[in-house]
């Protein structure tokens, strides 16, 4: 009786959504892992090749430079996005006139897709800043930042921080306003300085906001594609390709479906491990308050 009732409920409510989830996500994901052990060429495969595709992937020098570039990008963007977002949240939650307008302005870049933001900044770095630099004779923007690997890296970081800090700001605002005013009042009466209140009271009490925001920025950093494509396109000479773009190029441009998919699996493992480490470390901080 109970079993039939549950089965009926499953058929009515669970079957269709789970079937879609299974077909769209589970099937390609498992097939993707399976195919990395074959000589797949995008259409079919002839034989199993063991770990050959992984070995080949790691013998690819451009893959190593992509991994290093992606790692640096993830760390730098994660730190800067969260520092800036937290600072923006502090500005907006200080009782100010026009705080709402500030919040709107900080959030707007987040509404717009990375591809559109990327081309806006491509115009800024390639055309607007150089011509302004000539006018006022500033040396730093005269050559487009997108022409050199080092400056192109910082261009990517600037656009990414600008795009994502607004979203993370909302998460930090939620954390900040969830703190009971009584606690802050108590800290003030005990004579805690503003800085002390920040580090010993506010931040520990909103540790959950940090866990979430760090997780989202970590994942976003590894998966970044749109801004990369529209801003630098991976150039100059494939030196600013993040891992997403590298995989895309390897499979769909160079036709290396076997190594492309192996690199994609490696990317998945990197994201999963990094996210698990980050969440467990952050969770521990939450408990220790």
């Amino acid at each position: 009786m109970r079993f039939t009732k549950n089965l009926k409920k499953f058929v009515w409510f669970g079957a269709l959504p789970l079937a879609i989830f299974f077909v769209v996500l589970v099937v390609p994901f498992s097939q993707g892992i399976f195919l990395t052990f074959t000589d797949w060429n995008g259409f079919d495969y002839g034989k199993f090749v063991g770990f050959d595709n992984y070995v080949k992937s790691f013998q690819d020098d451009t893959f190593w430079s992509t991994l290093a570039f992606t790692g640096t990008f993830v760390v730098v963007s994660l730190v800067l996005i969260n520092v800036v977002a937290f600072a923006l949240a502090l500005i907006v939650t200080t009782k100010l006139r026009s705080a709402n307008i500030f919040r709107t302005f900080f959030f707007i870049p987040n509404l717009i897709g990375g591809v559109v933001l990327g081309v806006i900044w491509q115009f800024i770095f390639n055309s607007a800043l150089p011509s302004i630099s000539y006018m006022y004779e500033w040396p730093i923007f005269q050559d487009s930042w997108l022409n050199e690997t080092d400056t192109a890296f910082w261009a990517l970081i600037i656009v990414t921080v600008w795009q994502q800090s607004g979203y993370m700001m909302i998460i930090y605002i939620t954390g900040l306003i969830s703190i009971e005013p009584d606690v802050l009042e108590a800290a003030r009466i005990d004579g805690a300085s503003a800085l002390r209140t920040m580090f010993s009271v506010k931040i520990p009490l909103m540790a959950q906001a940090f866990t979430i925001s760090l997780f989202l920025t970590l994942r976003g950093g590894f998966m970044a594609y749109d801004v990369n494509l529209a801003l630098t396109g991976g150039g100059p000479y494939r030196s600013t390709e993040l891992i997403s773009m590298h995989i895309f190029q390897d499979a769909f441009r160079l036709g290396n479906f076997d190594t492309g998919q192996s690199k994609a699996v490696i990317m998945f493992i990197l994201v999963a491990v990094a996210a698990m480490v980050q969440v467990s470390v952050s969770k521990r901080m939450e408990v220790q308050r």
């Binding site: 989830f21 077909v23 500030f102 959030f107 591809v115 995989i247 999963a272």
Partner: protein, 281 residues
């Protein structure tokens, strides 16, 4: 607060003024790129090269006329609206139903299923995009818009179900039981009692998914054809082709930005509360 000394008050207001000035400067920096695009969209090409910061001398709508036509603005806008609303609508339906099933039926199967759904959120699209395209090629060539909506349902169902699940778990089961005693079927219980109570999460689910789907690039670029392309795709293509026609390129960017910004300004409160309640889970 009443006992604050005069000195402390003066200090607080000084701090506030400094914070206000910092906020103002940063706000200007944040919108500056958009302002730059906007003022240059009204200028002829030579004027832009001359001084990108200056206001237009020879104010012209010509760039917009050109961009509207060349990027097939209204067609891509319609495509974007169609894809986004149908995907978000279907996601709301299937995720709320699945969450109802998973949170109201407690057994090993539902527990494991929920765990799989949650952990699937860590899988990047890139990890399955290559086999994805070969598996679904026949479906995509049959009807690429329907295929894309179907894919969004599959990729979005985990997060949306997770959000609904948290909310439904907090609705007391006594409500369902009372209705069941009155002879209501599960179907009636869900649609007449539970679903109407889900409005706040539904708003969150709608906004988070709409932002993602509206701006998505990588999946639609693999799936859609030139006739069915969405706004980000046509904007990028247009920019790539006419990048040296600065004025037209800028007008194209303005057109691409306007719809979502208008939508945001109209529903600002829902956006902010949607994102903050979506994140706390």
């Amino acid at each position: 607060m009443a006992k604050m000394t005069f000195k402390a008050k003066a200090r607080t207001s000084a701090v506030r003024s400094i914070v206000w000035v910092v906020g103002l400067i940063v706000s200007i920096a944040y919108v500056m790129p958009f302002v730059l695009v906007l003022i240059n969209s009204f200028k002829p090409k030579m004027e832009i090269l001359d001084n990108p910061l200056a206001l237009p001398v020879e104010f012209t709508w010509d760039n917009f006329n050109q961009a509207l036509q060349k990027m097939e603005f209204f067609r891509s806008l319609t495509n974007s609206i169609l894809i986004t609303t149908l995907s978000v609508g279907s996601l709301i339906l299937i995720s709320s139903m699945l969450a109802f099933y998973l949170s109201r039926t407690k057994n090993k199967f539902t527990k494991v299923t929920f765990l799989i759904l949650v952990s699937s959120m860590i899988v990047p699209f890139q990890a399955l995009m290559i086999p994805f395209m070969s598996i679904f090629a026949p479906f995509v060539s049959l009807n690429n818009q329907a295929a894309l909506i179907f894919f969004y349902m599959g990729f979005g169902v985990a997060l949306s179900t997770f959000l609904y699940h948290g909310f439904i778990s907090n609705i007391p089961t006594e409500l369902d039981e009372a209705a069941a005693l009155d002879g209501a079927s599960d179907f009636t219980i869900f649609w007449k009692i539970i679903f109407p109570m889900l409005k706040p999460v539904t708003a969150t689910v709608a906004i988070i998914n709409a932002l993602w789907i509206w701006n998505d690039y990588l999946l639609p670029v693999l799936v859609l054809t030139p006739e069915t392309q969405t706004l980000p795709l046509s904007t990028y293509l247009f920019y790539g082709t006419y990048a040296t026609e600065y004025g037209q390129a800028m007008a194209g960017l303005v057109l691409a930005i306007i719809p979502i910004v208008v939508f945001y300004l109209a529903l600002q409160r829902q956006f902010i509360s949607g994102i903050s309640s979506g994140a706390v889970k």
